[in-house]
Amino acid sequence: MTGPDASSGEMPRVQIPGRAGRDEDDLVLDMILDRRPLPQDAPPGMRALADKLVGLAAAPDGGELPGESAALAAFVRSGSPASALTLAGEPPGGHRRHRLVASRARLSAAVAVVVVGLSGTAAAAYAGVLPASVQNLAHRVIDAPAARHAAKNGDGAGRYQRSHPGSPSPQPARPTHPAHPAHPAKPGNQKAKGRGHRGNHGQAAKKPKPSHPPKPPHPTHPTHPTHPASG
């Protein structure tokens, strides 16, 4: 007991006769808020309140609601969200053409980058300036000089000249078809080879010209017996 000015929380809860307690009221109020049916012993005032609020939540019987025609018109006028979905899934002609052109442009740019990159790499391979592992790979794939020869001579042309003294080197494995039109290294390979056989491909190999790439040591051999494509 804290005296006459005790807070309401300290006071004993007094049940008023004929009236439900505060906690019970809260439960009933929660039921009203949740639109649940009230128990039979709920206070009459609360029951009446619940009935009135349920009447508010009920929809009017029949007839057009205020604003219904305007809302439906807005729904139709907006093209409806389905139109947006359709646009996203199946663009109409103009959008589709635009996207097609854009994708083709991106594809062309990517192909150009790959072609230029492969051409430069092939030229560097025939110049013998690639790292040893890459150079050896190029030696196997596109018949570029081997790395060890480049190391001895200091340039790819000399290396190629020593390893291929006057005759085409045997090519046990050439995964890429020599006449493949899409392979950019092959035309350069052919020109370098041609100059190499003439004995002056060293300088050409030192300064590879992208516009006149060297010939490959093995021009197209459609009937090459050791064509790697099969192996």
């Binding site: 809260d26 609020l53 508010l56 439906l72």
Partner: protein
């Protein structure tokens, strides 16, 4: 409440089915109008703005019926606030409401008139409550939203929402009892 059918109906509305959209509209519009009648000066105008925004955002909405209602009533609340509805304007509710409802009533349906007059009286009593209590009661009872959803809409904690709702209901019971409103 559309209940279990809501998902299908919403998918139909998103696919452009006018009947599906109408079903959603008819399910929500009565409670939306009553909510706006309590918090806004021009309920039908605010409701129209709300539906326009709902239609625009329908394709990007995802969620169940409760989430849809919470989203829609949040929009409605913002539309009411944006259009400058004030507490003072809400005081004009009884006269305007009475005119609106009576104009929509068929002349030979006395029961409907009495029902709407009763509805009007209850709405008037709710509008006389403090603004936060009136709005929370409308969202909880009329819109059918749960306490957490209402708390998000009005920017209060769920506990504060519950306390305000209880106070509002107690006061409302007293007001209706004193005014003799019958259902």
């Amino acid at each position: 409440m559309l209940g279990a059918a809501f998902e299908v109906i919403l998918a139909g509305a998103r696919a452009g089915d006018q009947d599906a959209f109408a079903a959603i509209f008819r399910d929500i519009q009565p409670s939306l109008l009553r909510y706006l009648q309590v918090i806004a000066a021009d309920a039908e105008d605010a409701a129209g703005d709300t539906w326009v925004q709902v239609i625009a955002g329908l394709a990007s909405f995802s969620g169940d019926e409760q989430a849809f209602k919470a989203w829609l009533f949040t929009i409605a609340r913002h539309r009411a606030i944006d259009s400058g509805r004030s507490r003072a304007r809400r005081r004009a509710l009884p006269a305007r409401l009475g005119t609106t409802y009576l104009q929509q009533v068929a002349p030979d349906t006395a029961d409907v008139v009495l029902e709407r007059l009763s509805t009007h009286a209850v709405l008037t009593a709710i509008a006389s409550l403090p603004a936060d209590q009136a709005e929370i009661i409308m969202l909880r009872v009329v819109a059918g939203l749960d306490a957490p959803a209402v708390a998000l809409i009005v920017g209060k904690s769920p506990g504060a929402v519950r306390v305000a709702a209880h106070r509002g209901l107690r006061r409302l019971a007293t007001v209706l009892d004193q005014s003799g409103v019958t259902v």
